[in-house]
């Protein structure tokens, strides 16, 4: 007997196409028309790649960023990430929300001795994102456990539970967390309907595209990078691409002396 989800997925692929072609009037207040479009692509989860309940600790997701391949001025990874997850675009620095961003060598590796690094490296931009640390300070300090470490190593924020105390923000040594100082829906440019937004008063950050991983897809930044500078995979699997590359290259982590054990590595 085919499961309900199968039939829905097929039907809604077609409907999704239709909807994409019509103008999306989302977030403009309560829609008055009903019945014009019988169904809607509402955060459809396809059948997950894994059907059973996951075993904690079996997989540990990690990312390797080959900064040598990163083209100056290219922001496609950040744009894809922010687009796919309805990340709002607040212009001013105070309220800016970012899941990933490009940063300078000095800011990404402030405790590494960069005086001797070549001019080229010092002028390079580096992708920064949540490091999904194995021993993260943000999960330790969260009073409600809203920021927590998943079975697969991803540090996830449970937006249903977050009280917005913002203790995780200064706790993170990498500045990976952003807070919704106001209603984010006013600042979302070109929203997608298959992923929710967040709300005023909660903290948010990169989730290693856990919503794409269950569909068997790579994270958005990895998929979209024109130079294929990003590699994503299971750090626990010795045969994975990322492990092979980690073993054959010298890599850096951000602020390793703090003992957070990040899952993101950089090839300089």
């Amino acid at each position: 007997m085919s499961s309900l989800a199968d039939g829905n997925t097929m039907m809604n692929e077609q409907r999704r196409e239709f909807i994409k072609k019509t103008a999306l009037g989302v977030f403009a207040g309560l829609g008055a028309a009903s019945g014009l479009v019988p169904a809607f692509s509402l955060e459809k989860t396809a059948l997950p790649v894994w059907d059973e309940k996951p075993v904690p600790g079996k997989i540990r997701w990690g990312m390797l960023i080959d900064t040598r391949k990163c083209k100056e001025g290219c922001q496609q990874c950040v744009a894809a990430c922010h687009h796919e997850h309805n990340v709002p675009a607040f212009k001013n620095r105070r309220e800016e929300i970012r899941w990933s961003w490009k940063n300078s060598y000095k800011n990404v590796f402030p405790t590494a001795d960069n005086a001797a690094a070549s001019k080229e490296i010092q002028n390079r931009t580096f992708l920064s994102l949540c490091n999904h640390c194995a021993d993260s300070p943000c999960t330790q300090i969260c009073p409600t456990g809203a920021t927590f470490k998943r079975w697969d190593g991803i540090v996830e924020i449970d937006y249903h539970r977050c009280v917005g105390c913002r203790f995780c923000m200064p706790a993170c040594p990498y500045g990976s967390l952003s807070f919704n100082w106001q209603d984010p829906r006013t600042a979302i440019v070109d929203p997608v309907t298959v992923y929710p937004t967040r709300q005023q008063g909660v903290v948010e950050k990169c989730n290693f595209c856990s919503d794409r991983l269950i569909k068997g897809l790579q994270p958005a930044c990895v998929e979209v990078c024109p130079e294929q500078a990003l590699v994503f995979g299971d750090l626990n699997d010795p045969a994975s691409d990322i492990r092979v590359l980690l073993e054959s290259n010298v890599t850096m982590q951000r602020k390793p002396e703090l003992g957070t054990k990040p899952s993101v590595f950089y090839i300089i």
Partner: protein
């Protein structure tokens, strides 16, 4: 004489309080609905044997079901719901709204009951998406 005056004042106070209470009760009774009416069966006819649970159970407990799903999916990664008859469903809002695809499905009952679910603060409600 003074006692008479005092009890007269008290009587007026009681009458005033009673009128205010009635007025408040009447004025605020309906909340957002203009006229009280039973929710019409405006949803498309759905085969409820295909649902995760019987209609009466869902009407009473859908909030607990959804909260349980949220906790189970987000915190344990357990995404598959197995109904009592053995069928498997994705623990997702999309599962429900895939069948109950009248965009006013949630609104119909919730506006009558005057209970605003907070789901739509983040999740995209059927009324917002085309």
């Amino acid at each position: 004489m003074e006692v008479m005056m005092k009890s007269r004042k008290l009587l007026w106070l009681v009458i005033f309080a009673a009128i205010s209470l009635f007025a408040a009760f009447y004025l605020f009774r309906n909340g957002e609905a203009e006229t009280p009416q039973k929710p019409l069966a405006r949803v498309s006819v759905v085969d409820s044997t295909k649902c995760i649970a019987p209609k009466e159970f869902m009407r009473a407990n859908h909030m607990q079901v959804l909260q349980g799903w949220e906790r189970s999916v987000v915190r344990d990664g357990d995404r598959v719901h197995i109904a009592s008859n053995g069928s498997r469903f994705q623990k997702s809002l999309g599962t429900c709204l895939g069948c109950h695809n009248n965009r006013l499905f949630c609104y119909n009952c919730h506006s009558y009951a005057n209970v605003k679910p907070k789901c739509w603060n983040c999740h995209l409600s059927p009324m917002e998406t085309p």
